[in-house]
């Protein structure tokens, strides 16, 4: 077993592609991937304004909008049709249209109405810009209410006021919501591709019927597990801290236990799948593209409640689904392992299932020379 443990590391040292996948890719991705989300929240989304009213009230509103941090007015246009053209060409993600009579309505004590249009192809940016304009509208509304109050007496404020309070990801950062999950897909893919590439290479060199003893398989699994735990430690301990992603100090023991469960299920699945490959390059060609669906199945960017039930159940066959749920919970939301016992149980069962498959596929019972 110890010999096989060392043999895996020796194989990685001797194989540049395997070293790249198992050791270098977590380092490369840690610097590379979060750079797409450095700003975290949308600001200064391009907005166009059409002012048909041209009164003091409409000018006041436009000044308030231009002060909003989420939106930046990029053009003043004469007609709504032109605003639509600007959005269709991708030059703006939202439009504020102030119809004629807006100021007069307010002066009369009724509601002045504006039209807000967001670009349906850029939902995040549009809703952020509309949110910014909404705040400006609120300010204009308060000014207008004071004006109206002179004539009609003070208005009754709305009964309830909703105060939104984000939990866990308190700055509501985009990268902070996405990357803590993506990191575990990266770890999964690094182990899966690296081990499958080594298995395919070993088969090429030592024959298609290559078999191991139980102790050899255990040694390889243990070595892969050590690499997996180092990767988890790298992301959780260093990368999340470096990018200042939310870390909700769950008990260290729980994080370590959770990581062991995720890595064990991933290594077992990787060894089981690796047993299918007879060619060195094949796993890269076939498995590189599954990252994106694996991430979506884990439910961070599309909730499980909105996913067809059958697919939610099928997703439990992949270590990433329960792994992301549990590790995001432990790392970002400050839960303890017992909050995620279904996910933990799922990972335990996957380790058993894939471990059995891997043993059945790799272990022959008779003694063979050490692999790779």
């Amino acid at each position: 077993m110890w010999a096989a443990f060392q043999a895996l590391f020796a194989a990685i040292r001797a194989d540049r592609a395997a070293a790249l996948l198992l050791l270098m890719s977590p380092v490369i991705y840690a610097g590379f991937y979060p750079s797409a989300y450095t700003d975290e929240v949308v600001s200064r989304a391009p907005v166009v304004v059409v002012d048909h009213d041209r009164t003091a009230a409409s000018r006041n509103l436009i000044i308030k909008v231009s002060g909003a941090q989420q939106a930046e007015i990029v053009a003043y246009l004469p007609a709504a049709a032109e605003a639509e053209n600007w959005m269709a060409d991708g030059r703006a993600v939202a439009a504020l249209i102030i119809p004629r009579g807006f100021g007069e309505e307010i002066a009369r004590g009724t509601a002045g109405t504006v039209l807000l249009t967001g670009h349906g192809g850029y939902l995040l940016r549009a809703s952020s810009a509309l949110g910014g304009i909404g705040v400006a509208l609120g300010q204009t509304g308060r000014d207008a209410a004071r004006e109206q109050a002179r004539a009609a007496g003070p208005p009754a404020p709305p009964a309830l006021m909703l105060i939104p309070r984000p939990l866990f990801n308190t700055r509501e950062g985009y990268g902070a919501a996405v990357f803590p999950g993506v990191a575990f897909v990266i770890i999964h893919q690094s182990l899966l591709l690296g081990l499958a590439l080594l298995a395919g290479t070993a088969r090429e060199q030592m024959g298609r019927g290559l078999r191991l003893t139980g102790a050899q398989l255990a040694g390889i699994a243990l070595a892969a597990g050590v690499i997996g735990m180092l990767e988890v430690g790298w992301f959780v301990g260093m990368v999340f801290w470096w990018h200042d992603y939310p870390r909700a100090a769950a008990p260290l023991l729980d994080v370590v236990m959770g990581a062991i469960l995720f890595v064990a299920a991933t290594v077992a699945a990787a060894l089981a799948l690796a047993s299918l490959f007879k060619t060195r390059e094949r796993p890269l060609q076939l498995l590189l593209a599954v990252s994106l669906p694996l991430f979506f199945l884990a439910g961070l960017s599309w909730p499980a409640e909105a996913t067809p039930t059958l697919l939610v159940i099928a997703a439990r066959l992949f270590p990433t689904s329960s792994g992301l749920e549990m590790m995001v919970g432990l790392n970002q939301m400050g839960g303890s392992l017992k909050d995620y016992w279904p996910a933990a149980l799922n990972l335990g069962l996957l380790t058993l299932l894939f471990g059995t498959v891997a043993t059945w596929r790799w272990v022959s019972g008779k003694d063979v020379p050490p692999a790779s």
């Binding site: 797409a36 670009h119 204009t140 909703l162 996405v178 995001v328």
Partner: protein
């Protein structure tokens, strides 16, 4: 050998190879179908519904009961339970049994008469898609509750005329995607994100394999031969693109505002650009495994760098340069301008020309490098 037979012979040779190799056949057939199908299926709900939320009703009044009924009635929400305090609500949110909790503090009923009684919505911001839907839904719930309170309870006790609509009102519309469907936005972008990656994995394998196996010797390609080898992949993946468009526009009924023909041109241009990058990688490294690893890095994270969801203009300088070097980024821009919205000619030409530029800049040196490797038996067989 004339150019024409070079093309045809290589085309036929590649088709024969794919037909005989089950895994290479898989990369152009059931793998794109499975991965694109899974995404399409997962998001086929369209809008997010029935998210479990909690009510922390410290104020046991008609207002709390009214809010509970409104939460149940909201299409996006489901009342998963009423809990006595915030701590137990947070615990349930942590363990994923609810996404949010609405806190109605003590004496809310009394405070409503003075107005602006605060109610606090605690939501799990670690799950952004659900968080956005919940904030939208609760905004509507509170607005409706306020309207009811104004007419039923407050109007009778306050001076006449003081209950009136807010002085400024906004009518909000989402252009070209009225229900603000995430399905339309995400699936229309995720399908090409998967297709270009699988396409590149397929062509990297096709061109890299010849050098690895030394089969490039007997094949002895010229320019037309390279085109003939790539053509089956371009054809099949254009077919997948048509199917992806048909799924969303035809089966799911998402409006096509611009021209499907322009979008297909964009698909073809995007594939050509990734083909150019492929030739550059394979010709440059002359090693299949390295080229595949580089493909993972180059085409594997396109979705994050394309600026389709999060604006690229706000990312770091590196991310902006990297994003613009990816053909998919320009394709995503084209998609917004010719599928989601009816963009003008110049707005469409920009992304198409950008993809053409990437194709030319990579394919010219890539072809030279690859053909040079084809004449250099010493460089074959690398692993």
């Amino acid at each position: 050998m004339t150019e024409r037979t070079g093309f045809r012979a290589s085309f036929a040779r590649e088709c024969r190879f794919i037909a005989r190799s089950p895994w290479d056949l898989a990369v152009v057939t059931w793998i794109p179908l499975l991965l694109c199908g899974m995404i399409a299926w997962q998001l086929s709900g369209g809008v997010i519904r029935e998210l479990p939320v909690l009510l922390v009703a410290q104020d046991e009044s008609a207002i709390s009961r009214d809010l509970a009924i409104r939460i149940e009635a909201a299409p996006g929400l489901r009342l998963a339970g009423t809990v006595p305090d915030l701590a137990s609500a947070q615990q349930l949110i942590r363990s994923h049994r609810a996404h949010a909790a609405l806190l109605v503090p003590r004496e809310t009923a009394e405070r409503t008469l003075q107005g602006q009684a605060p109610v606090t919505l605690y939501f799990n911001a670690s799950y952004p898609a659900a968080a956005a839907a919940i904030q939208r839904e609760f905004g509507a719930v509170i607005d409706a509750a306020n309207a009811r309170q104004a007419t039923d309870r407050i109007a009778p006790v306050l001076p006449q005329g003081s209950v009136r609509p807010a002085p400024v009102r906004a009518v909000i519309a989402i252009a070209w995607n009225a229900p603000a469907s995430q399905e339309f936005q995400l699936v229309s972008l995720l399908h090409p994100a998967l297709l270009h990656l699988i396409f590149m994995l397929a062509v990297v394998s096709a061109f890299g394999r010849e050098l690895r196996d030394g089969s490039i010797g007997p094949w002895a390609p010229n320019l037309a031969g390279l085109a003939g080898k790539a053509a089956p992949y371009l054809a099949v993946f254009t077919g997948w693109a048509m199917l992806a468009i048909f799924w969303l526009a035809g089966v799911r009924g998402w409006h096509f505002a611009g021209s499907p023909l322009v979008l297909l041109t964009g698909y073809a241009m995007m594939y050509l650009a990734y083909l150019g990058v492929t030739l550059l990688m394979v010709g440059g490294t002359r090693t299949l495994s390295q080229s595949l690893s580089m493909t993972g890095l180059y085409a594997g994270a396109s979705f994050a760098f394309a600026g389709a969801i999060f604006p690229l203009e706000q990312a770091s300088a590196f991310a902006r340069i990297w994003g613009n070097a990816l053909p998919y980024t320009h394709f995503a821009r084209l998609l917004a301008r010719t599928w989601v919205a009816p963009g003008s000619g110049t707005a469409l030409a920009g992304p198409i020309l950008a993809m053409l530029a990437i194709a030319l800049v990579t394919a010219i040196p890539g072809t030279l490098l690859y053909l040079r490797a084809a004449r250099d038996p010493g460089s074959w067989g690398r692993r």
